[in-house]
């Protein structure tokens, strides 16, 4: 079995294969083996190409190449140079195209089915009217009529009215009516119901059976029986069997099944409404600056680095970074954030969002498959294609369902034939047909996938991207939420709030606070730690230019050391100071006070002597407190993990409302911590920004990446929150709980429907209650059981996630 990550790469486009990359390029214009040979030779000769295979039948070239030596674009150019057309597959185009194809097919299907259903219903009414005089005659011991008990009851009630309205109909001879019905029914079966028979036959040839098999068998048998009764009634009468006909039942069954299928097609189309909405977000054209002039170009032709102009009210065509101007941009369609976000120079804008107030120009950064919108569409398509484990049982039943139902129908016929006192053949036949008609495998097949479709779409609308059915199912069982402090509970943008010299350090260890900051920033400039970044930012804000630090070393979980202008500088926590035998006593009280205020104090030592203290504060995100309270109300235990010192961590936890804190965790320790909680029998959701917690996200039962942070996080996580705040975590779990409930309702209904419906149709209630199910009612039940399952899934669209 392939891994998830590999599966995620399965779309067209470049993919990694054994150290190199592989790409499939559609090539057009090749008509013969000589053409494909030429393209193949040209590609093989290209530097960096390891292997090229051109397929004439499929019209494409599959190339393995070394990404360092060549690129997919270069390969396309090579193909074009041979005189054939080539274009790189654009997964996001194909995702959009596929959606359009699907919509077209669904719309077409709906139109066709509803037309056929409409005509069939009219035909059914006509057939019923024509059957009534026959039935009335039957009552006087003449020609046979319907045996469908429901139809008999309805027609018995309607017949006197009809006789008064259209007395001439009752004067038509019986055989004329029966032959007329025969022709009408054959017409309906041959036109409206045609696909039931052709598809059932096609499946049969493959030793397969589906819903069409059941409908075709049921209506086909009823029709053939009626034809025999029409053509040779004497044969039946001679054997003491009434020559009954079922024409109107056949037409009714076809009409009702078609009507059900039409409704189902419409409802199924609605399950992917959210994906369709996303696919339609990208504008067709973009206004690009070329040689200082604004040119309107198709969005696909925008290149990396192009500068684009966006006016108020327009959609942002591609992802990029604002160069000039500023505006408020409505990102709600991607992030679920209802308040427009202010954008100025340097800020990132996302393709598909709507520019509200101002005009701005921006530089295109990520395009095509890498753009945020494409990634979301791809993620959602993959999610909707995935299966929830809960579906396995339904799958196993579906696989054997139809042959088993046919077997039950045959057994029903046999039992009725042997056991019935009067008219055994007719009763046996009606019951067998009812069994075939009522059985509905579709409801079972639709129960889980439609819920996954609607739920992933609903999540995406709220900025919660769930990776698939399995993640959705696992999230339901989450009882513990682990939050990584930095960038999750807090903003993740720390700033320096305090800078103090150690008592007696001025002039002795460092000249001034500026000097302290300069030395610190010089070392921190080489560090990638977010706290280090805060120090460097602070220094540059004060106009201090950092010097070059030699022998830089980051000490994981403690701090960093380096040599600046011949002076040994160490910045970090108390443990780092201990390592260098630096006494921290003079500043310890200050450090503790700062930690109590949820700030992170860092000691600075120069040449082995304590120089001062830098405190950095990372404010708690707006909304973290409410989101954590919501999780607790949902019965979830919230745990906060951080590499920070205990005091600071506890202060942050107090402010955010977190009860359980695990502080001073090294990055590697996060995985162990998640594993430890799992060891306690908990189902853990790990929430992080994914920058240094990707392994922990992967280890957790449900990994939640917050913000659009990093690709690694998106890859490793089960849920990606497009919005920065923590509320999405609770929303994801809520969504999962609701979806699982819907899936269970659907499966329950689909199972119970068949488990109850089939025996009733077979007549198990007859001995006790004299109850027999009419095939026509069975067809109505069957048609609407699958519609009800899809409709139940669609109810998920209405849930409130906020």
């Amino acid at each position: 079995m392939t891994t998830r990550t590999e599966a995620a790469r399965n779309g067209p486009g470049p993919e990694a294969a054994g150290g190199g990359d592989r790409v499939t390029i559609p090539v057009s214009g090749m008509t013969c083996a000589a053409c494909s040979g030429r393209v193949q030779r040209a590609l093989s000769k290209q530097a960096g190409v390891k292997e090229a295979a051109v397929n004439l039948m499929l019209g494409n070239a599959t190339v393995s190449f070394d990404p360092a030596a060549t690129s997919p674009d270069a390969l396309v150019e090579t193909v074009r140079a041979t005189g054939y057309g080539a274009e790189l597959p654009r997964p996001e185009r194909t995702a959009f195209d596929e959606q359009a194809d699907r919509d077209r097919a669904q719309e077409e299907e709906f139109r066709e089915l509803s037309l056929k259903a409409g005509v069939s219903i009219v035909a059914a009414a006509v057939a019923m009217a024509a059957s009534m005089p026959l039935m009335a005659a039957d009552a006087h011991g003449g020609h046979g009529a319907t045996v469908d008990p429901f139809m008999r009851w309805v027609m018995g009630w309607l017949s006197p009215l009809l006789e008064r309205a259209m007395p001439w109909l009752y004067a038509v001879p019986g055989p004329v009516l029966s032959y007329g019905l025969l022709a009408l029914t054959a017409g309906v079966m041959g036109w409206a119901g045609r696909h039931f028979y052709t598809r059932a036959w096609a499946a049969f040839r493959h030793h397969a059976a589906d819903m069409n098999t059941l409908v075709a068998l049921g209506t086909g048998a009823a029709f053939l029986y009626s034809v025999a009764a029409t053509v040779a009634p004497g044969f039946f009468v001679a054997r003491g069997v009434a020559p009954d006909i079922y024409y109107e039942a056949v037409v009714f069954i076809i009409a009702l099944v078609l009507a059900g299928n039409a409704l189902e097609a419409r409802a199924k189309g609605q399950t992917s409404a959210a994906l369709r909405a996303l696919a339609n977000l990208r504008p067709e054209t973009a206004r690009v600056l070329r040689d200082g002039v604004e040119v309107e170009l198709p969005t696909e032709e925008v290149r990396h680095g192009d500068v684009l102009a966006v006016r108020p009210g327009e959609r942002v065509p591609v992802d990029g970074e604002v160069v000039t101007g500023g505006s408020a941009v409505d990102e709600s369609m991607l992030t679920g954030e209802s308040v427009p976000v202010r954008k100025g120079p340097g800020d990132r804008v996302i393709g598909g969002t709507i520019n509200r107030t101002g005009a701005f120009r921006y530089r295109a950064t990520t395009l095509g498959a890498d753009s945020v919108l494409s990634r979301i569409v791809k993620l959602m398509r993959d999610a909707q294609g995935s299966r929830a484990p809960i579906q396995r049982l339904a799958d196993r039943i579906s696989a054997v369902f139809v042959p088993v139902v046919i077997s039950i129908a045959i057994a029903t016929f046999v039992v009725w034939f042997v056991a019935a006192d009067s008219a055994p053949g007719v009763r046996a036949f009606a019951a067998a047909v009812a069994v075939l008609i009522i059985a509905c495998p579709c409801a079972m097949g639709l129960a889980v996938p439609t819920a996954v479709m609607v739920a992933t779409g609903k999540g995406a609308e709220a900025g919660v991207l769930v990776k698939g059915g399995e993640a959705l199912q696992r999230a339901r069982d989450v009882d513990t939420v682990v939050l990584d402090k930095t960038g999750t509970v807090t903003e993740g943008r720390p700033t320096v709030t305090e800078l103090a010299l150690a008592p007696g350090a001025r002039g002795e260890v460092v000249a001034s606070e500026e000097e302290l900051l300069r030395l610190t920033a010089s070392v921190e400039a080489q560090s990638e730690h977010p706290l280090a970044d805060a120090v460097v930012q602070h220094a540059s804000a004060r106009g201090i230019v950092p010097a070059h630090a030699e022998s830089f070393e980051a000490v994981t979980g403690r701090g960093a050391v380096g040599v600046v202008e011949g002076r040994a500088v160490a910045i970090g926590n108390a443990r780092l100071m201990e390592d260098y035998a630096v006494r921290t006593d003079p500043l310890r009280a200050d450090a503790e006070r700062l930690a109590e205020q949820a700030k992170t104090p860092m000691y600075v030592a120069v040449d082995g002597r304590l120089a001062g203290l830098v405190a950095v504060s990372d404010p708690i995100r707006a909304g973290s407190r409410e989101a954590i309270a919501r999780m607790k109300r949902m019965g979830l235990e919230v745990v906060m993990l951080t590499g920070d010192n205990r005091r600071t961590a506890e202060a942050v936890a107090r402010e955010a409302g977190v009860d359980r804190v695990v502080a001073e965790v090294l990055p590697e320790g996060k995985v162990a911590e998640v594993a430890r909680l799992q060891g306690e029998g908990r189902t853990v959701a790990m929430v992080g920004d994914g920058i240094n917690d990707a392994p922990a996200l992967a280890r957790a039962d449900v990994g939640v990446a917050i913000g659009t942070g990093s690709d690694v996080a998106m890859e490793a996580s089960d849920v990606t929150l497009m919005r920065g705040d923590l509320d999405g975590v609770a929303s994801a779990i809520e969504l999962s709980r609701r979806t699982m409930r819907t899936m269970k309702q659907n499966l329950f209904w689909a199972f119970v429907y068949n488990v109850v419906g089939i025996p009733v149709a077979a007549g198990v209630l007859y001995p006790a209650f004299g109850m027999l199910l009419s095939p026509v009612l069975a067809s109505a039940a069957m048609a609407f059981s699958s519609v009800s399952v899809v409709t139940n899934s669609l109810r998920l669209r209405g849930i409130r996630l906020a």
Binding site: T3, L58, T62, H207, G385, S407, A411, V414, V418
Partner: protein, 132 residues
């Protein structure tokens, strides 16, 4: 029980036996091995009321391309699902749609239509076995 009853019982049992044999046992078709094209193993599967071939044999570790040639408009076959590879793909009617994946473990994997009514099987064999 009269003669007619006995005949119906016998015929019924025979019919049930036949139905089960036909759908469950008779449906097993021999596997078709994929053709290797430049390192990609490719098989074209015709979709028309079922999958032809319904059983495909491929080698582990090398990329596989299944080209589904859907020659009908039946709603049943509009999607193909390879649950073990996380793939669900819409198949436009009367068109060929390629599905690609790389099996990295030997074994037997199903591919089905969107509602698991139509079934096919992919047998992944180890390299050696595949070459022989």
């Amino acid at each position: 029980m009269n003669t007619a009853d006995v005949m119906v019982v016998v015929a019924g049992i025979a019919a049930i036996a036949w139905v089960n044999f036909y759908f469950f046992v008779g449906g097993r078709t021999p596997a078709r091995s994929a053709a290797a094209l430049g390192g990609v193993q490719e098989v074209t599967v015709v979709v028309r009321g079922g999958y032809e071939p319904a059983h495909v044999r491929v080698t582990r570790g090398a990329p596989v391309r299944l080209v589904f040639d859907r020659q009908e408009t039946s709603g049943c076959s509009e999607e193909v699902v390879l649950p073990d590879f996380g793939i669900r793909r819409f198949l436009p009617a009367h068109r060929k749609t390629a599905v690609e994946f790389t099996p990295d473990r030997a074994g037997s994997y199903d591919f089905t239509c969107g509602m698991s009514m139509l079934r096919g099987r992919i047998t992944v064999v180890d390299r050696k076995e595949g070459e022989s």
